[in-house]
């Protein structure tokens, strides 16, 4: 009986949804999940909710893997003539999409809603504007964002005679603290003072944070053909890394993998680590002993790059699909939805108004670590974005890894990184800045 009942219910439901679908604009949204599987499920929940609230639109969420895989799949879909209606795209890939002329400027959508582009962008934190607006036009709507953060083990601090309420603020403090936190047993190190990620992608981001804390900003935000690796601010940042490993021996040699960093921090073999604010929820759930978070220590100033993703609308869809995508984008970046997603993931909500909601206020009061992440946002800046961003970033990362492994000295490494990056940027530079009137 129960079975028949549920069968009837299912039939009725499918008939209902079939009629709804008949009228609805069907769109698809590609979305990556950078951190873990639970996020993919939560995203599907959000899409179900949106479809219920907007019967005229039927969104299909397509999980497309990591940020890099999402980039590949989006490009493949555009090339095949079937562009997705909306994509959650790594914020620093937007410049390349604009160079390749694959995405739409969104200013006219905002204007149609009666908002100036400036007013539209002003709902988001200022740090996010640089990567969302390229050449004066809005190409991305910030969806979730992060910054690098210093995580530290409270018990290790106490054991080393340090005050856990006073995290290192300057690079000088950082070295002193790291030395005290490093525990040795003969030749062996049983607890490292600090670990930073040494793998592609995260390493470039971390180096960018150190470079910014040293007064640098290693790309030209107005022109994607220039990168400044061979500079004093970068030399200082890379020398710090070299010294932490080879001079003070408070950081392990070689490129440290992500699982190693996480497990070492959870297991107490690393007293401090640099990780994304996007890892907050993951670390909160996995860490058994007390931890705290702090700003990335500075040499000249407090400054970190943003990370995370924005929503884009590729070219080549029908106006109806574009409109439906815009509606979805506005919904996903609204204070309520963005705030909920932020609490679920640990990313901060790009929409400032999210933090005025009572549930967000009580969440921050309950989780002071999320508050620190938000406070650091005041010092955040744009994420480096150039032509061929991934490859240009790798040019630096390969050389930093060589320094971390003791194969090269910082000055020589940066010279090589600059030469390799310049070569990668060459085709774009020749087609633009060096393309002169004859």
């Amino acid at each position: 009986m129960k079975f028949i009942k549920s069968l009837v219910a299912a039939a009725a439901l499918s008939a209902l949804s079939a009629t709804a679908a008949l009228a609805a604009t069907k769109i698809d949204m590609f979305f990556p999940v950078p951190v873990d599987g639970a996020l993919a499920k939560e995203m599907q929940n959000l899409i179900v909710r949106f479809n219920k609230e907007n019967p005229d639109i039927e969104v299909t969420g397509v999980y497309t893997g990591s940020y890099d895989e999402t980039d590949i799949k989006t490009r493949a879909a555009i090339k095949a003539g079937k562009p997705p209606a909306a994509v959650i795209m790594s914020a620093n890939f937007i410049t390349q999409y604009h160079i390749d002329d694959l995405i739409q400027p969104l200013d006219s959508f905002a204007e149609a809603d009666g908002k100036t582009p400036d007013a539209f962008m002003n709902q988001f934190w200022p740090a996010l504007h640089g990567n969302a607006r390229v050449d004066g036009k809005i190409y991305g709507v910030p969806f979730h964002n992060s910054t690098p953060l210093l995580y530290y083990n409270v018990e290790a601090f106490k054991e080393a005679g340090l005050d856990p309420e006073k995290p290192p603020v300057t690079w000088t403090d950082w070295i002193t603290v790291a030395k005290k936190l490093t525990k040795r047993d003969g030749d062996k190190v049983t607890r490292w003072g600090l670990m930073i990620p040494g793998v592609y992608d995260t390493l470039g981001w971390t180096m960018s944070a150190l470079n910014m804390s040293n007064g640098g900003q290693y790309y030209n935000p107005d022109f994607g053909g220039e990168i400044y690796y061979d500079t004093p601010s970068m030399l200082g940042a890379l020398t710090l890394v070299d010294d932490l490993i080879h001079k003070y021996k408070v950081m392990p040699e070689g490129a440290t993998q992500m699982p190693t960093i996480n497990n070492s921090f959870f297991g107490g073999q690393a007293a401090m680590i640099i990780a994304s604010t996007g890892s907050l929820s993951f670390i909160r759930q996995s860490m058994k002993t007390p931890y705290k978070v702090a700003f990335i220590p500075r040499n000249l100033r407090n400054a970190v790059p943003i990370g995370g993703a924005s929503l884009i609308i590729p070219k080549g869809n029908s106006p109806e699909r574009d409109q439906a995508a815009w509606k979805l984008i506005k919904w996903l970046t609204s204070p309520e939805i963005a705030g909920g997603w932020s609490r679920f993931t640990g990313y901060f909500a790009p929409n400032k108004a999210a933090y005025d909601l009572p549930e967000m206020k009580s969440f921050l009061a309950e989780h002071p670590d999320a508050k620190v992440a938000l406070d650091q946002l005041a010092y955040a800046r744009s994420w480096f974005a150039t032509y061929n961003t991934t490859a240009v970033r790798k040019a630096l990362e390969d050389e930093v890894q060589a320094v971390m492994s003791g194969k090269k000295k910082p000055a020589a490494a940066l010279k090589a990184a600059q030469a390799n990056a310049d070569q990668l940027l060459r085709p774009y530079v020749e087609a633009t800045a060096l393309n002169l009137p004859e």
Binding site: K188, V199, Y200, S264, K394, D398, E399
Partner: protein, 313 residues
Amino acid sequence: MSDAVFRDNLALAQPVAPPAARKKRDSSAPTAALLLAPSLLFLALFTYAPILQALTQAFTIEKFGGKFAGYGFGNFQRLFFDAAFQKAFANTFLYGIGTVAPSLVIAVILAAALQESTRFNNLLRTIFFFPTLLPLVAAAALGSFVLMPGAGLLDYYLAQLGAAQTNWLGDPDIALYSIIGLTIWKNAGYYMLFALAGLQGIPSDIHEAAKLDGAGPITRFFRITLPLLMPTLAVIVVIALINVVTQVDHVIVLTGGGPSDSTNVLLNYIFQAAHEQHDIGRGAAATIVSVALLLALSFVSLKTLERGMHYES
């Protein structure tokens, strides 16, 4: 014995089917073609067409922004002068030698040791074969925990023996060897299965005759078993070579080709050229080069091993 081999070779040289049977097959040709058509269609769509496309792309020169600029060898020229390609090529070469030869030796030793079908041997065979059942991605994910410096399984037990910490995947001098080790562990059991099948095909009377003549187990292995196993070994070498060029999951999961490109192999290089640098032409050229290399290697290894082969029914 040499007579028997000679006769078998003669038998191989003769046409396989008698004329009557061939005629019958001809009459059913349309049916056969019809039955094969679906798979042929899919092969054409998903194998032959992409091969053609890769070939065209490799010889197509594009200007900035993907604008067509003619045909030529420009992509290959850029490829060969690219230091990253040279590095990937050298890495693949080292990775090939480092995985194929040891896996082959281990496979033959395991097969020879576990040839007798006892219950204990069956258990051991299952244990050695087990890694084959794991997807390469899963094996790599396991590997990332085993190879973790300090806290990982490998370092933990090495520390008990008094060894210092090693950054298995983060040291550019060691990373490729860590990946080679994982690959051998993953593949040797699979190759053992081929070697076992090959060993079953060697008639026991030859061994008995040799025993009567006073040959010890080592002499018998090198004079009888190994020569008669050659056709099987040729197959294993070709499969192993194909694996060298086509398996990349573990590299992507464990190191992404780093640190400092020290584990970057050809397939990962192709991925980087095509998808990270959006340079389809150079990616296609690298594809053509590695496939050509693979074909040549397979051909040469089959030919060389065939020369020393003894066929046995």
